[in-house]
């Protein structure tokens, strides 16, 4: 397994404090997830949130998309980066991703990178111009063999 195969894990607990967005190793089930390897945490300087309409889901979407698409380390505060400025192509991508996955999200959710990239590919087929980025074309597999190993389709 490579770190290309990773899962975004949003946690917005009922206790005070900002929501967290972890990047985790894929695991097959709830038991395996109890001792999961956390690759890192995605943050911006303003706090993340979801389950409502507003800037929080937009910032969260920017972080997930920037990481999944490999937009580069320079996107350190993803939502404020010029890439996401209003009227840009990527701003529409971010807005649609937030609407599809984050505006109505439950307090806790998991979304594998491959699912994000497959959604981007579908979105790109409708609204994009030319071929999507290489990261989208080389999305991690969407299926697991019965033994649990990942298969590149």
């Amino acid at each position: 397994m490579t770190r290309d195969d990773r899962v975004y894990h949003g946690i917005n607990s009922s206790t005070p404090g900002p929501a967290r967005l972890l990047v985790e190793e894929p695991a097959d089930g709830p038991t395996q997830r109890q001792d999961i390897t956390v690759f890192g945490e995605l943050r911006d300087g303003y706090g993340l949130s979801w389950g409502h309409v507003g800037s929080g889901p937009q910032r969260t979407a920017a972080l997930v998309l920037a990481d999944a698409l490999g937009l580069g380390g320079e996107v350190t505060i993803a939502a404020q980066h010029p890439l996401w400025q209003a009227n840009s192509f990527l701003a529409r991508l971010r807005s649609d991703f937030a609407g599809d996955f984050l505006v109505h999200a439950a307090a806790e959710w998991r979304l594998p990178r491959g699912a994000v990239l497959r959604w981007v590919r579908g979105w790109w087929a409708q609204f994009g111009q030319g071929e999507p980025p290489q990261t989208v074309l080389s999305a991690p597999a969407a299926t697991r063999e019965p033994g649990g190993s990942l298969e590149i389709m």
Binding site: H104, A105, A106, P112, G122, A125, T143
Partner: protein, 110 residues
């Protein structure tokens, strides 16, 4: 047009049970104990405008079988006890899967 969504809840204090809803309308009143693959069939069939049993009857390795398997692996395998999935998200993901496979996107996809 209001956004459509699929949602489910599972109560671990009771026997395995799921209440599965599309928007505020239950697709089927007999879904308690439903497995992930059957749930995937219902959701995908709803987006594709086909009968879920058509997906369930597919042989291993067929297009719809692979689509359902990928959908489970992408979404339902990771579902928490309460989850909600937008219809548009499902549609974009399905479109992306067909494009990735080099297949024509079904005309009935919505």
């Amino acid at each position: 047009m209001p956004r459509e969504f699929y949602s489910a809840t599972r109560n671990r204090d009771k026997e395995p049970q799921r209440e599965f809803l599309k928007g505020t309308e239950s697709l089927d009143d007999n879904l308690t104990g439903i497995c992930s693959s059957a749930l995937a069939s219902l959701i995908l069939a709803d987006r594709l405008g086909i009968d879920a049993q058509l997906i369930d009857r597919q042989s291993e390795g067929s297009v719809l079988w692979r689509l359902r398997t990928a959908f489970v692996a992408s979404f339902l395998s990771w579902a928490e006890d309460t989850w909600r999935l937008e219809g548009e998200a499902v549609a974009e993901w399905v479109r992306g899967w067909y494009v990735e496979q080099g297949l024509e996107v079904p005309a009935g996809l919505r």
